[in-house]
């Protein structure tokens, strides 16, 4: 296999390998199952968010409201189930969350696909609306007693074990949900006509329209799909944290988009891969969890992530600019 050095994926993969090598050198205990499960655990919610953000970026839009959708969904679902349907099993809670998320996503979809408003402005507005509505009319207190279904889901593990030194490690079952989301999204993007149409409208809306693509329909699907994934991520976040805190999640949106862009997706639309997205998320989680292992204090975390974003997007941008200058 030939390695393409100009791709973002290669660059991010190299940075990840370099980071792990440095970490392993300074602390041999870094290369352990416990570190791996910690990192995978940290990537569960972020990975679902990033997959949704990738689909929006490929379609040529941007969505900053998904964290508010997730927070709204987890809070309202927990409240609703506690009050009216405590018998709901865990898969029922997830289904309800995805439905609420999809419903909120359809509000974005109507404003963007039907009314043709700019995506950044719409989702900036709905971010405030969803969050403001929840905190004003639903509640501001943490829900510490989750409904039984969500509690049961919170305890489900795929792997559980004990290290040689006696410490425990485990991988939450929600990791399978993230894998499923990635597989389903891959299938939609690369094995269906809808997926080709998402890439097409991201490349050029006008060309897509002229070859007969229902641009509004495709955009509508994209924003409902992202809402649905955000709803799922919200339920998973609350179940894993064993508390529904309405102030969680909002504020993550730009880091998620940064992770996706690090992986090679372009803000101008039409480009982006799931491999790159997974690598981008892995790098962000690695920096968040293990920066201190390679000797950088955690107070420098945000400087490091900022520098990575500039490096990861700057190199390809600079190469493109040089190529354009040579061609001109």
């Amino acid at each position: 296999m030939r390695i393409d050095w100009t791709r973002n994926e290669t660059l991010v993969a190299l940075v990840i390998l370099g980071f792990c090598a440095l970490a392993a050198l300074s602390d041999p205990g870094f290369l352990s199952v416990a570190t791996l499960t910690d990192l995978l655990r940290g990537g569960i919610v972020l990975g679902i968010f990033a997959t949704g953000a990738l689909v929006v970026l490929i379609s040529g839009g941007i969505d900053v409201s998904f964290t508010a959708v997730a927070a709204f969904t987890m809070y309202v679902t927990a409240m609703l189930l506690n009050a009216a349907m405590p018998w709901m099993p865990w898969w029922g809670a997830i289904a309800l969350g995805m439905a609420i998320g999809a419903a909120l996503g359809s509000i974005n979809a109507v404003l963007i696909a039907v009314m043709g408003l700019p995506t950044l402005i719409v989702t900036l507005g709905t971010l405030s609306i969803f969050r403001g509505f929840m905190l004003t009319f639903v509640g501001q207190k943490q829900i510490t007693t989750l409904p039984p279904g969500m509690r049961e889901f919170g305890r489900m593990m795929v792997i559980r074990g004990e290290n040689a030194d006696g410490s425990f490690y485990s991988l939450h079952a929600a990791f399978l949900a993230t894998v499923a989301v990635i597989v389903v999204t891959w299938a939609i993007l690369h094995r269906t006509m809808l997926g080709r149409q998402i890439f097409a409208i991201g490349g050029s809306v006008e060309s897509a329209r002229r070859i007969g693509i229902d641009v509004r329909g495709v955009q509508f699907f994209v924003y409902v799909y992202v809402g649905m994934l955000a709803g799922l991520a919200g339920i998973i976040h609350a179940s894993m944290a064993r508390v529904a805190n309405p102030f969680d999640l909002v504020g993550l949106e730009l880091s998620v988009i940064a992770a996706v862009v690090l992986g090679g997706a372009r803000l101008s639309g039409g480009h982006g891969t799931l491999t790159g997205t997974v690598l981008g998320v892995a790098l962000i989680v690695l920096v968040r969890n293990s920066l201190v292992v390679i000797g950088i204090p955690t107070t420098w975390q945000s400087v490091t992530i900022g520098a990575l974003i500039l490096l990861g997007t700057g190199l390809p941008a600079w190469q493109a600019k040089r190529a354009a200058a040579r061609a001109a």
Partner: protein
Amino acid sequence: MSGRMANSRPLTPALGRALAGALSRALASTEGRLAVIAVLVFLFMSALAPERFLSLQNMTSMAFQFPEFAILALAMTVTMLTGGIDLSVVGIANLSAIVAATILTTLAGPGDGVAVLALAYAAALAVGLAAGLFNGVLVASLGLPPILATLGSGLIFTGIAIATTGGSAVMGFPPAAAWIGNSTALGIPAPLILFGLLAVAVSLVLTRTAFGVKLRMYGANPLAARFAAIDIDAMLIRVYVLSGALAATAGMVVMSRANSAKADYGSSYLLLAVLIAVLGGVNPYGGYGRVIGVVLAVLTMQFLSSGLNMIGVSNFARELIWGGLLIFVMIVNTWRPGRRRS
């Protein structure tokens, strides 16, 4: 005359036509519609809580509150006019405030506040200019998309602020430091005067200088601007330097009003600044926007939040209403029923 006014039948059609004409002219432009909305919000809040909303105390407190995020919105506006955005404004504001605060707390002895204050402001402005230059180089020379360049640089600026202070607030200023945020001149709050001066200055730069014309031309059509032999890189760098300087000024107002500096002050101001600029009719894809629109948007937001505050609505409901207002204005501005958007 007064008799005819009281029995105004003969005048009504002419007056009505004049009013309708003025109103339809006003409604034809984004700024006109916004002015009507601002007046309606003001009247509505006055009607809701007349004795409190219209009180001098409320007017003064509103005039102290809005300039800090209004200045950030001005910074956002100049970058949006080029089709860019500056997500690092809050990071720049806090970093320059921390630099200024550190100078104030370490150098100021008793009594000699003013000289140290001048030094602190100069240092803060220098930080703002340097941060803006950094952004400008990223966007212009390296060709990064502005949204990513300033997202990354904003994290770096905030990160440096956190790393140098350990995340805690820097406080203990000489009394003179309260001047820019808390004093009044001829009864007018100092932050309002500062904002007024900056708004006029930015407006003049945008409309009366070659730089402003180039900037708007580039925003409207980058390719045409390139063929018109505009030095785009130099122009973009100056745009981000201007934005950085405005952000540092906002940082000084925040520092003075809070009487301290901290890495995470005003984190909600970022989205608010974007919201105000867009509400003010600035096209986020570049090319169109006027300072008067931004001023009207700021006033509308402040009337809304003060008024709602008075009738006991929570801060979170404010967020809801701001978001709703943004979407409402976007629908009014861009959506024409029956016309398919290309």
